[in-house]
Symmetry: C2
Subunit: 312 residues, 2 copies
C-alpha cells in the first residue's frame, strides 16, 4: 500500500479502530493485511466503486456517502449468503477536508461496527473524488448463494419494499412527497440484508441483491440460470408513499426498474418456502420458458430486461 | 458488483480469461468471487490506486499502465513473502476507448499470466481515470515478512539496483541519458520481486518493498521495529546510467529517495546471511540507536526519513 507520512497520519486519525475479528492477524500498518480463514469456510470477495457525478454529487452528505459505500459492498456479500469480515478502502480525494473526512468515517464505521467489519487496509491518493471498497466475507464451503442455480418452478421472493430508494431519488429531483423521510433514508443509507442473506443458506436456490432494479437484477438470475419468469405486479411489496407516487405520476414501472434498494431477490423451491425464517414477499415464479413476463391485473406483457448503464 | 449490460460485455470482451488457480471456486460473473484458502496458509491482502495526473499522465501508454498497476500490488504481496493468487480491478474510465482498453488489458495480463494471477472481479464506472487493484496472496501461516520485526545487528539488504526508475522519471522530464532504455523500462514496467519475497520466508527478519524510495521505506521498518540504522552510500547497487546521472548532476540523493523501483529492502541476522539464495546487496546495518545515518566515503551524516507525499 502506498506510504506517505501524511497518508499515515490521515489513516491513523480517521480510519483506525480496534480490530473486531480474531481472523485478522495483521490489520492496517504493513504492506498487506493478513487473514486466517477458519476451516469449513470459503472467502467471498466483492469490489464496488462510487464516483462523484455518477453515484453522488459533490454536495452529498459525507456521512451518507461513507455509509452507502460500505452498504453496497455488504449487500453483495449478503446476496451470496456471506458473513461480512473485513474491507479495504481506496480513497481518491481532491483535497484534505478534515470535517468531511470525519463525517465520512463516522458514516462508514456506523455501519462497519454494526456488523463487526474490520477496515484492514487501503490507499489514499489525491485526485477526483472516487471511492472503492473491496469487501471480504465468510460463507460455509460450497453453500454460497448463486445467480446461476434458479430452477423452473421456484417461487421468486424479495425482502422489504421495492422502489423506496427510487422514490428517494425522485424526491431529490423535485417530486413533492408528503412523507419523504423513509424514502430519503433508504436512498441515502440503504440497509444491506446481511442477516437475511445468511438465513437463506440451504434454503434459497438462487439469490441476487437489487442494486440496479428488480427487472435488471432478476434478469441476471434468469440469464445465468437459463430460465424465464413471470412476475405478478399486484404482489409487489410497495410502501404507501410509492403507491401515492404511482397514483400521482402514472409511473408504475419505477419500482420494477429503480436501483439502490439493496433488498434481496431470491428463488426458493415450493417445498422449502415454509422454511423461510425471514420476512419476504412472493412476487412471481421461475419458468422454463425463457424471457420475463409481467402479470399486471390479469394483463400479461413481456418485460425487457435492462438496468442502469454507466456508459450509455 | 455493479451490473450494467454494457459493463458485462466490456468485462467479457477485455478482462475474462480462463481461471488459473483451483482455489478460485467462483470467478467473475456473480455478486462475489469465492476462494478456498488451503490449510496452513494465511491470506495476504493489499490495495493500491493509480490516478491520472498523480501517478501517470493522460498520454501514458495503456499497456504500461495495466502492467504497472498490477506490478505495484504484486510488489506489496512480495514484500510480505506471499505468493500472488488473485486480484479484483476497479476501473473508473472517462469513456470507452476500445483500443485503449485492449492495450491496458494486454499489459495487465502480460504480468498476471506470468504469475498465474486470476482476475476474479471488479467494477467499472464512468468518471475521471482512476484504477484500483486489490491483490490477494497466500503466505504460510505465521511466517509473513513484516516491517516491525527488524533487530539490532541485522544486515540491511536490497534486491536489484536502486534509482533506475527514478532515472526513468528524470529522462521523461528531459534529462539526456545516453542509454535510456533500461531506466525507462524500469519506470514503465517495474518487475515485482515475487520470487525473492517468497525465498526470504524463514530467513529475513523484516521486509518492505521500495515504492516510495529507500530512505522512506526503510524508515517504515525502523519506525515499526523501534530501531535505527546506518547505510553505506558506497555500497548502494547503482547502474552505470545512474552513476553517470550523479556525475552529470551532482544529485547523489536520487537513488536514496526516488520511488517506483519496487525492489525489496530486507534485514537478515548475520548468522542467516549465508542462507540467502537470491541476488542481493548488503547496504547497511540495523542499530539500536534510533534514527538513520549515512556513511558516504567515511563522512557520516544523519538522514531525514521522508518519502513522496500525495497531499503535500
Amino acid at each position: 500500500m502506498t506510504n506517505s507520512i501524511t497518508e499515515f497520519s490521515l489513516i491513523d486519525r480517521f480510519f483506525k479502530r480496534q480490530t473486531a475479528n480474531q481472523a485478522i492477524t495483521q490489520g492496517i500498518g504493513d504492506d498487506c493485511a493478513l487473514l486466517k480463514i477458519p476451516q469449513g469456510f470459503e472467502l467471498a470477495i466483492t469490489t464496488d466503486t462510487m464516483a462523484e457525478k455518477v453515484h453522488f454529487f459533490a454536495d452529498c452528505d459525507p456521512f451518507d456517502l461513507g455509509y452507502k459505500l460500505l452498504a453496497v459492498n455488504l449487500s453483495d456479500l449478503a446476496s451470496m449468503g456471506a458473513k461480512p469480515l473485513a474491507v479495504t478502502l481506496a480513497l481518491t480525494l481532491p483535497n484534505i477536508n478534515e470535517n468531511w473526512l470525519q463525517a465520512f468515517a463516522d458514516g462508514f464505521f456506523a455501519l462497519a461496527e454494526r456488523y463487526s467489519v474490520d477496515l484492514i487496509g487501503g490507499d489514499t491518493t489525491s485526485g477526483p473524488l472516487t471511492l472503492t471498497v473491496t469487501a471480504l466475507g465468510l460463507v460455509p464451503t460450497g453453500q454460497a448463494l448463486r445467480r446461476s442455480t434458479a430452477k423452473s418452478g421456484d417461487i421468486i421472493c424479495v425482502t422489504g419494499h421495492l422502489g423506496d430508494a427510487g422514490l428517494g431519488l425522485k424526491i431529490n429531483q423535485g417530486y413533492d412527497c408528503k412523507q419523504p423521510d423513509a424514502a430519503l433514508k433508504r436512498f441515502n443509507q440503504p440497509d444491506p440484508q446481511v442477516e437475511a442473506g445468511q438465513a437463506l443458506i440451504g434454503i434459497a436456490n438462487a439469490c441476487i441483491d437489487i442494486s440496479d432494479g428488480l427487472v435488471g437484477d432478476l434478469g441476471h438470475i434468469l440469464q445465468k440460470s437459463q430460465v424465464g419468469a413471470s412476475l405478478n405486479w399486484d404482489a409487489l411489496p410497495l410502501s404507501t408513499e410509492v403507491l401515492t407516487y404511482i397514483e400521482d405520476t402514472g409511473d408504475w414501472v419505477m419500482p420494477l426498474t429503480a436501483g439502490d434498494d439493496y433488498e434481496l431477490c431470491f428463488t426458493v423451491s415450493p417445498d422449502k418456502v415454509q422454511n423461510l425464517a425471514i420476512p419476504h414477499t412472493k412476487i412471481g415464479v421461475i419458468e422454463s420458458l425463457l424471457g420475463l413476463r409481467l402479470n399486471k391485473s390479469g394483463n400479461i406483457q413481456p418485460l425487457e430486461v435492462k438496468s442502469f448503464e454507466h456508459f450509455s
